[in-house]
Amino acid sequence: MNTEHDMDPDWFQQLAEVDVPPVPAHFDHEVRRRVNNALLAVQLIELATKGFLYACGEFSRALVDLLTFSVSGKFSSDRRKRH
């Protein structure tokens, strides 16, 4: 048991002896590029989803108005004016 514990520090001390190379030269540039790409992707997704919802809302309102006109023969805007 003692032998094992004596061996332990030697093994694990080797981990600290492994040199870490310096940060690559264009690291910051690459980080900035990736961050901007990620930001662009997020904004495009946000635009697409929000734009899609807005378009759905607008078209559904137009569709409702069309159905209303087909049934009653009056535009919903005409009804609002009368009131």
Binding site: T3, E4, M7, D8, D10, W11, F12, Q13, Q14, L15, A16, V18, V20, P21, V23, P24, F27, D28, H29, E30, V31, R32, R34, V35, N36, A38, L39, V42
Partner: protein, 188 residues
């Protein structure tokens, strides 16, 4: 990156992180954070991944995650601890995804290699393979503890465990390596 502010005059990490969360893009506060943590993140990634290409990829991914999640830092812990935790999680997920691929590659390559490694390969070359026998999180803990000199308190914060749990896991990892490789460093 263009640094618009003098980093030395900026407040502490936590205040800088709050400022970065207000920025719409990678502004001066986030740039200053990258400058402050670049070396530490790089060291963690290199230690955990062992290869420069993988480490570079992981370190860049860490900063992308920090940027995307910059609003979710609540200040419950030190910002440095949060950064280290993100770095460790990123490396672990990268290792998992690449490990599966390399497993198949190495299995294919093993047929071409001689059946036995020369005994002269010794402890130093075996150390990486010894650590490979550990669970991913245990391996990361052992590396951060012994290679980077993290305290158990820091490990506990990074891994979201109690200090005693960290001590237990590192101790068990050591025992596992000892049991498997004995005194000679060769697999028994």
């Amino acid at each position: 990156m263009d640094t618009l502010l003098d980093v030395s005059e900026l407040p502490n990490d936590e205040q800088l992180a709050t400022e970065a969360a207000r920025e719409g893009s990678d502004g001066p506060a986030f740039t200053a954070l990258v400058e402050r943590f670049r070396d530490r993140v790089w060291r963690i990634c290199f230690r955990l991944l062992g290869q420069e290409d993988d480490a570079q990829d992981a370190a860049q991914e860490v900063f992308v995650r920090l940027f995307m999640q910059r609003a979710s830092f609540r200040g419950d812990s030190k910002y440095a601890t949060w950064v280290h935790a993100v770095a460790v999680r990123t490396c672990l997920s990268l290792r998992r995804s690449r490990g599966r691929r390399r497993h198949y590659e190495s299995a294919a390559g093993a047929e071409k290699r001689p059946a036995q490694q020369p005994a002269s390969a010794g402890l130093q070359l075996d150390l990486a393979s010894m650590l490979e026998t550990l669970d991913e999180e245990d391996r990361a803990m052992v590396i951060l503890k012994y290679a980077e000199g993290y305290s158990f308190e820091e490990l506990a914060s990074i891994f979201g465990l109690s200090i005693s749990a960290c001590k237990m896991r590192v101790s068990r990892a050591r025992e596992k390596v000892q049991r498997k490789f004995g005194g000679s460093g060769e697999q028994s």
